[in-house]
């Protein structure tokens, strides 16, 4: 099961990769919006975990991602986003929304919920 992680901050990306790797998931990484859109077609991920504010990011990018990968659950993690951003993102069809800093336990919960029983076996 492939998860696409889109995050421009290297350390943050590394953290998410480590956490998700331990969940037994295959990971593809992108550092900006353009790279993410290329990868989503190529990798056919089961889940997309993405930042919002980054090069070639923003709500436009989220919409396009939605169009490129319909049916793929998206988890948005953004820095202290205001309520409006959250509402807009949810309207576009983001499945889960987190303000940074997010607790890993919360994130894990959301991923499990979105990937369903297929994942639960692999969690230690």
């Amino acid at each position: 099961m492939v998860v696409l992680i889109v995050e421009d901050d290297r350390e943050m990306r590394s953290l998410l990769c480590d956490e998700l790797y331990d969940l037994g998931l295959s990971i593809r990484e992108a550092a900006d919006g353009d790279e993410a859109l290329r990868l989503v077609l190529d990798a056919r991920p089961s889940l997309i975990l993405t930042d919002l504010r980054m090069p070639a990011g923003g709500l436009d990018y989220i919409s396009r991602l939605r169009t490129f990968a319909p049916g793929v659950p998206m988890v948005l993690i953004t820095s202290f986003g205001d309520p409006q951003t959250k509402a807009d993102a949810l309207a576009i069809g983001v499945e889960a929304y987190f303000d940074k800093p997010v607790r890993l336990s919360d994130l894990r919960g959301a991923i499990q919920r979105l990937l369903g029983p297929s994942l639960s076996r692999k969690i230690h």
């Binding site: 943050m12 953290l15 956490e19 930042d51 820095s79 202290f80 997010v102 336990s105």
Partner: protein, 602 residues
């Protein structure tokens, strides 16, 4: 008996003489001799006609002829020639002396010296003539007997055209009948007075023009009955001046009353003389109520009385104008902030006579400015906070996440404790940031009439469990009935929660939480007190500063009271704090009454 009559005859002050019908003097008394200057012997050799100047002899002869004809005494005035050649005015009463058979045998005359009277008359004429006012004399029938030069000039007539005419000729036609009536009334109970009291009088000139005048009346008792001396003043110029003055005054009044500015005029002592409509509207006092009273006794709040008096003193001391800003307290107790421009008006000697103060009510302007300033500040803070949140969000997430990640993968207790601390501390930063963001993103508040009593009860309910566990006793004192305040309910609950929370924190060992609500003028005063540890002055003075906290590391954000103060001030209220170390702390919140509700329920 004869001696007796001779004595009376001789003693008479009036000259008495007896002559034959043709005028030969037969008998005269001493007064006759004194009057003419001729001795008795000289007179007894003279004819009466010798005493009369040539030109008046005919007048005398006619009179004598009439007396002889009618048998009635006659009276006339004439000049007598004296021995020294001078003339003396006399009044003569002449009558025929008759025999028993009714035949006239001689003429007797009583002659009175008129010098004194003529002199008095002449003086009177001079006085009348030289008077600056018009003078005229009328008899009881209203016939003009005398006028002076001023009357001729005022009315445009020659005196010959007036004397002998009715005085009503000088009165405009529409007033004549009334005038005649009043004139008769005056003759009936005459006393000196002004004519037409409180009424405008007019005179009629020969050319038909009318003019305003004033008349003084004096009755003069004469041998011919009561005559009336009228003194007439042309007041056209005065009326014109009055009219100009009134127009000027009306103009100034109109300007003062129309202007939106407050205009107060005070005398040099500070007593109010003028109080325009804008002042009445702002203060709720009418002009009648305040005129004559001191400005500082009515509108100035105690703290500012000295300042206002100082400004007034400077104006009196020679400063021609100055500007000042202060509060005015209206009848309803509400304070208005007024910006004044003061100017002095001096009298002809340069002494300050009046101080004119023109003021603008800048209460609303100030509030808007203040709100704008705050909004700008908050917006700036918001920009800063969200920028910061974005910048630190990711690094904080890395720290938090890494700590959590490691925490799950270590069995070392020391390590676990350290990692847990990192997690807690990052969460603390997050909390501060979130509160800051929430503060800057506050929604616009919704104000309505709010019952503070209900808010207090509501807020206390949230603490019920906590109060029960911490040995804190609640002491509630609420004045009833309490008028509503105009406020945002949710924000007030936030205020109450913050204040109660602070009180509870101050009493970890238990104590008494006091909550009071009282009405003070146009405010409701909320008191929240604790019997906790209290604060020294250096802390007390900083409690409302942003990010100031005394709580243990990690327990407070330092924004609670800043937010509280912001909310209260947005509501037009105030918050103050009193504290005694070891005794406790009390917060006093004053919120303005809801004007509409309060007005509706007295």
């Amino acid at each position: 008996m004869k001696i007796f009559f001779e004595n009376i005859f001789e003693a008479s002050k009036d000259a008495i003489g007896y002559a034959t019908i043709d005028g030969t003097i037969l008998l005269i008394n001493r007064a006759f001799s004194d009057l003419t200057g001729f001795s008795r012997e000289e007179l007894l050799r003279m004819n009466v006609r010798d005493l009369i100047p040539e030109q008046h002899r005919k007048q005398r002869d006619d009179m004598v002829a009439q007396v002889l004809k009618t048998g009635e005494p006659g009276e006339y005035e004439i000049e007598y020639l004296r021995k020294n050649g001078s003339q003396v005015p006399v009044s003569i009463t002449v009558f025929a002396v008759k025999t028993e058979d009714g035949k006239s045998t001689g003429l007797a005359a009583i002659v009175r010296d008129l010098t004194e009277r003529k002199h008095a008359e002449e003086q009177f004429r001079l006085v009348v003539e030289s008077s600056p006012s018009g003078l005229l004399m009328v008899d009881e029938q209203g016939t003009i007997l005398l006028v002076n030069r001023q009357i001729e000039q005022l009315f445009g007539y020659e005196r010959t055209e007036l004397i002998g005419q009715s005085v009503e000729r000088l009165v405009p036609p529409q007033m004549r009948s009334r005038h005649a009536g009043e004139r008769r009334g005056f003759s009936a109970h005459s006393e000196s007075r002004a004519m037409g009291k409180g009424r405008d009088l007019f005179g009629l000139r020969k050319d038909g023009q009318e003019f305003p005048l004033e008349i003084g009346l004096s009755p003069v008792q004469t041998e011919n009955g009561i005559q009336v001396l009228a003194s007439v003043m042309d007041i056209s110029e005065r009326k014109l001046a009055e009219l100009t003055l009134r127009k000027e005054r009306d103009f100034i009044n109109a300007v003062l009353e129309t202007a939106g500015a407050l205009v107060v005029v005070v005398d040099r002592e500070g007593r109010i003389l003028r109080f325009n409509r804008a002042c009445e509207q702002t203060t709720g006092y009418s002009s009648e109520e305040v005129v004559g009273r001191f400005v500082w006794d009515l509108f100035i709040i105690p703290d500012e009385v000295d300042g206002v008096k100082a400004v007034f003193k400077r104006l009196r001391g020679g400063e021609p104008r100055n500007d000042y800003e202060n509060y005015w307290k209206g009848r309803d107790g509400f304070l208005r902030r007024i910006s004044w421009s003061n100017t002095v008006l001096t009298d002809s000697k340069g002494m300050v006579e009046y101080v004119v103060a023109a003021g603008l009510d800048i209460t609303d302007l100030k509030r808007i400015q203040e709100q704008l300033r705050k909004t700008e500040q908050i917006a700036e803070l918001g920009t800063l906070a969200s920028g910061m949140a974005h910048e630190i969000g990711t690094p904080m997430n890395v720290i938090l996440g890494r700590a959590e990640y490691l925490l799950q993968r270590t069995a070392d207790e020391g390590m676990k404790k350290g990692l847990a601390t990192i997690v807690t501390q990052v969460e603390r930063i997050t909390k501060v940031m979130n509160q800051l963001l929430a503060f800057t993103r506050r929604r616009t508040s919704e104000r309505r009439a709010v019952d503070l009593c209900e808010i207090v009860d509501n807020s206390l309910e949230m603490f019920q469990e906590r109060l029960a566990h911490s040995r804190i006793e609640v002491d509630k004192s609420i004045e009833s009935p309490l008028p509503p305040v105009c406020a945002d309910r949710d924000q007030l609950i936030q205020v109450l929660i913050n204040l109660v929370m602070n009180s509870l924190h101050a009493m970890p060992e238990g104590g008494r939480l006091g909550l009071s609500l009282t009405r003070e003028d146009n405010y409701v005063c909320l008191g929240v007190s604790d019997t906790g540890h209290g604060m020294p002055e250096e802390i007390r003075s900083k409690v409302f500063d942003p990010f100031f906290t005394t709580k243990d590391f990690g327990k407070g954000t330092g924004l609670g009271l800043t937010v509280v103060k912001g909310i209260i001030e947005e509501h037009g209220g105030t918050i103050t704090v009193e504290s005694v170390v070891g005794m406790g702390t009390t917060f006093w919140v004053r919120l303005p009454l809801d004007k509409i509700q309060t007005a509706a329920t007295p």
